[in-house]
């Protein structure tokens, strides 16, 4: 009888979501819209196999409970992408607080190994002004990404994800890595590849991290 209880406990431990592969990500069928590994075919939602590198957990947890539209034109693999600005963009399913917390914890574990962490010093006001200028004129980022103008209003194109709240949404290190080598994450992006020198790349990273919805006016 004692053996039976032991087996029962071991079985429960093995099959509980924390220790088994039967995770909430599977239960919620996230893979219907999101790639969970790079070898899969492109899907309509953003890739999640590097979610732990890319997203800030507090933002993700909040997003899963109150999804916001980041791509007004839809995602790039959507068949209607580029045809029109979506009037009612398909929203992400809303999760309850508990599920949002658990799934965020699971997603934070999904990382690509060996991505370099880079320490970047805060920007001076002059550097921010210079980078803003380059963001708009030298690298033309504003043509596809919304950011904040000097009056604190969103400004820019919509084919790329909005960067209005990028500072709360993305991890600094991911931005730096994306700018250096986007192919690590995706072979199919509609963004130009930039060969920025290190100083510029890190300055851009830090600049993108200054874009926060709190600065909207």
């Amino acid at each position: 009888m004692k053996k039976f209880y032991h087996l029962l406990i071991i079985g429960w431990v093995l099959y509980s979501p924390k220790f088994s592969h039967a995770s909430l990500i599977e239960e919620k069928n996230c893979s219907a819209c999101h790639r969970l590994s790079k070898v899969e075919k492109e899907k309509k939602g953003p890739d999640l196999f590097y979610a732990g590198n890319k997203y800030q957990d507090t933002w993700l947890e909040e997003y899963l409970q109150n999804p916001v539209t980041l791509r007004k034109a839809g995602t790039i693999n959507n068949p209607d992408f580029l045809k029109r600005e979506l009037q009612n963009p398909q929203q992400h399913p809303i999760l309850n607080k508990n599920d949002a917390l658990n799934i965020t914890q699971e997603l934070m574990l999904m990382t690509l190994p060996g991505l370099p962490e880079e320490k970047i010093n805060p920007l001076t006001k002059g550097q921010i002004a210079k980078t803003k200028y380059e963001f708009e004129r030298t690298f033309s980022c504003i043509s596809c990404h919304q950011s904040l103008n000097l009056a604190g209003k969103p400004r820019g194109g919509i084919s790329g994800p909005s960067l209005v709240n990028a500072g709360n949404r993305l991890k600094e290190s991911w931005v730096a890595n994306w700018l250096k080598n986007p192919k690590i994450f995706s072979n199919k992006s509609r963004m130009p590849v930039y060969k920025m020198n290190n100083e510029t790349r890190l300055r851009f990273t830090k600049f993108i991290m200054t874009l926060k919805k709190e600065n909207l006016r």
Binding site: L82, R84, R137, T138, S143, C144, R155, G156, I158, P192
Partner: protein
């Protein structure tokens, strides 16, 4: 009889002429083989590749796909300058179906605009540089495709 000083000037003159002529020749050859210096904008460097399109440049299904994937974001699916980003830009994207303007531009100007961005040809900075994303041969094909869209050639 020529005085020694005059003879020196005469000989020196001939020598200079010979050097001068061969110098021009050298310069001419040098011009042909020296690669163009890299174009430097404020923070990005791109190599200026061969400017003359290797013949023949053929627009393929892949060229159209490339246009749809990258260019259509701003220039529109049919190239009419009405892509989804168009209304958010300070300068409207070029309408690639209008011959009136495009026939006043050369293929080299198109090539440079795509490779180095709008500013490189004195146009809007909204157009980014695609030189690190697209191969020169693909850019030459895109130039041909734009000529197809506008049904025009450089005047």
């Amino acid at each position: 009889m020529i005085k020694p000083s005059l003879k020196f000037i005469f000989n020196y003159g001939i020598l200079m002429l010979v050097i001068g002529v061969s110098g021009c020749g050298e310069k001419k050859t040098e011009k042909n083989i020296t690669p163009k210096p890299p174009l430097k904008t404020e923070s990005q460097t791109l190599e200026l590749g061969e400017e003359v399109a290797p013949e023949p440049v053929v627009v393929t299904a892949k060229t159209r796909e490339t246009y749809q994937w990258y260019c259509a974001q701003c220039h529109g699916i049919k190239g009419k300058g009405d892509g989804i980003n168009a209304k958010f830009l300070t300068v409207p994207p070029r309408n690639h179906t209008k011959a009136e303007y495009l026939e006043t531009r050369t293929d080299e100007q198109f090539f440079k605009a795509i490779k180095f961005g709008g500013l490189s040809v004195g146009r809007a900075p909204c157009m980014p540089a695609w030189g690190n994303t697209l191969k020169d041969s693909t850019i030459h094909e895109l130039v041909r495709y734009i000529r197809e869209l506008c049904q025009c050639e450089a005047l």
